[in-house]
């Protein structure tokens, strides 16, 4: 299947899903006007990729600096799809990048770890880049 690339905007993240390399990236800020409309097609393609790639080792880099409440809900669905694939024999290696000072994103990462045991989750705090 084709790779999926969506450029970042001020309110939506860069989506760089290189399905041919089993490498998925979400990067930026996420507070689109309609989070469900933004994420639904992404989740659909992700699910299709996961269904076609049983047994693969997929790396997921998440570098989100802010997500609003409705994006949070949709991200949970993204990770749910990844966890289901990991439960059925694929490996999902997730790198969770966050500012080391950002408690909110750290805590959301903890939520993901608590719910999605099959994802191999690595917290990646990034040192603060001055003011």
């Amino acid at each position: 299947m084709d790779n999926l690339y969506i450029a970042a905007t001020a309110t939506s993240p860069e989506v760089d899903f290189r399905f041919d390399q089993h490498s998925l990236l979400l990067r930026g800020e996420s507070y689109p006007e309609n989070a469900a409309a933004f994420y639904a097609p992404i989740i659909e393609q992700l699910r299709q990729y996961l269904a076609e790639s049983a047994g693969a080792v997929t790396t997921v880099d998440v570098v989100l600096t802010y997500f609003n409440s409705s994006s949070t809900k949709m991200l949970f669905s993204v990770f749910d799809a990844l966890d289901e694939a990991a439960q059925s024999g694929s490996r999902v290696l997730m790198n969770w990048y966050r500012d080391e000072e950002d408690e909110t994103i750290f805590e959301f990462g903890e939520e993901l770890k608590a719910d999605f045991h099959a994802i191999e989750f690595t917290d990646r705090p990034v040192a603060h880049q001055g003011q």
Binding site: A10, E33, Y66, N68, S69, S70, F76, D115
Partner: protein
């Protein structure tokens, strides 16, 4: 000084005395919120607000502003056929010593008052731990049908605030079907 300048100066003096970091009254669309978001980020940075507090203020600003875009009863495009929503309201951020106050006001249909009150009132008596617990449950629950924001918006604000959210409803004498909804978060 002319009377006109006197009036202007009173407005700016008051804004300065109240340490207004940001104020907007008028229409809110998604693009307007995005542009205001840039202004708010810059103002908070210049004002020397710490990173964690800046993030909480920005988060509350986005939730409040998107509430106005989605739920204010005063819509610029009554039909809303295809285009994004544009609705009316006001948002204000002020500094009071170490605390920051974020306030918003927008008109809502009078019939929606009870529903909003029922969502907000229980949050006021919850501890931070209880709010985080409710947040976790809501995150995993199905999205309510009438909600565009997954029902997480107020919980997100309550979580980021350092005191219970304050709210009030002011019925409008000139428009009996409309009530002004005011929400204040202290961060």
């Amino acid at each position: 000084m002319s009377p006109l300048l006197d009036q202007d100066s009173a407005f700016f003096d008051l804004a300065q005395r109240r340490n207004v970091l940001f104020y907007h009254k008028g229409y809110f669309s998604h693009n307007i919120v995005a542009a205001m978001g840039e202004v708010v980020k810059l103002q908070l940075e210049i004002a020397g607000v710490s990173g964690p507090t800046r993030r909480k203020l920005f988060s509350s600003f986005v939730e409040l502003s998107q509430n106005i875009v989605h739920y204010s009863s005063d819509s610029l495009q009554p039909g809303n056929d295809g285009g994004g929503s544009i609705r009316e309201g006001a948002v204000c951020i002020t500094t009071d010593g170490e605390r920051h106050l974020m306030m918003c006001v927008n008109p809502i249909a009078a019939e929606d008052v009870d529903g909003l009150r029922n969502k907000l009132e229980p949050l006021r008596s919850m501890s931070v731990e209880e709010i985080k617990q409710a947040y976790k449950i809501t995150l995993r629950a199905d999205t309510p049908e009438e909600s565009k924001g997954a029902g997480l918006g107020f919980l997100t604000m309550a979580r980021d605030a350092s005191a219970p959210l304050e709210f009030a409803f002011h019925p409008r004498a000139d428009e009996p079907g409309t009530t002004l909804f005011c929400l204040k978060a202290i961060i």
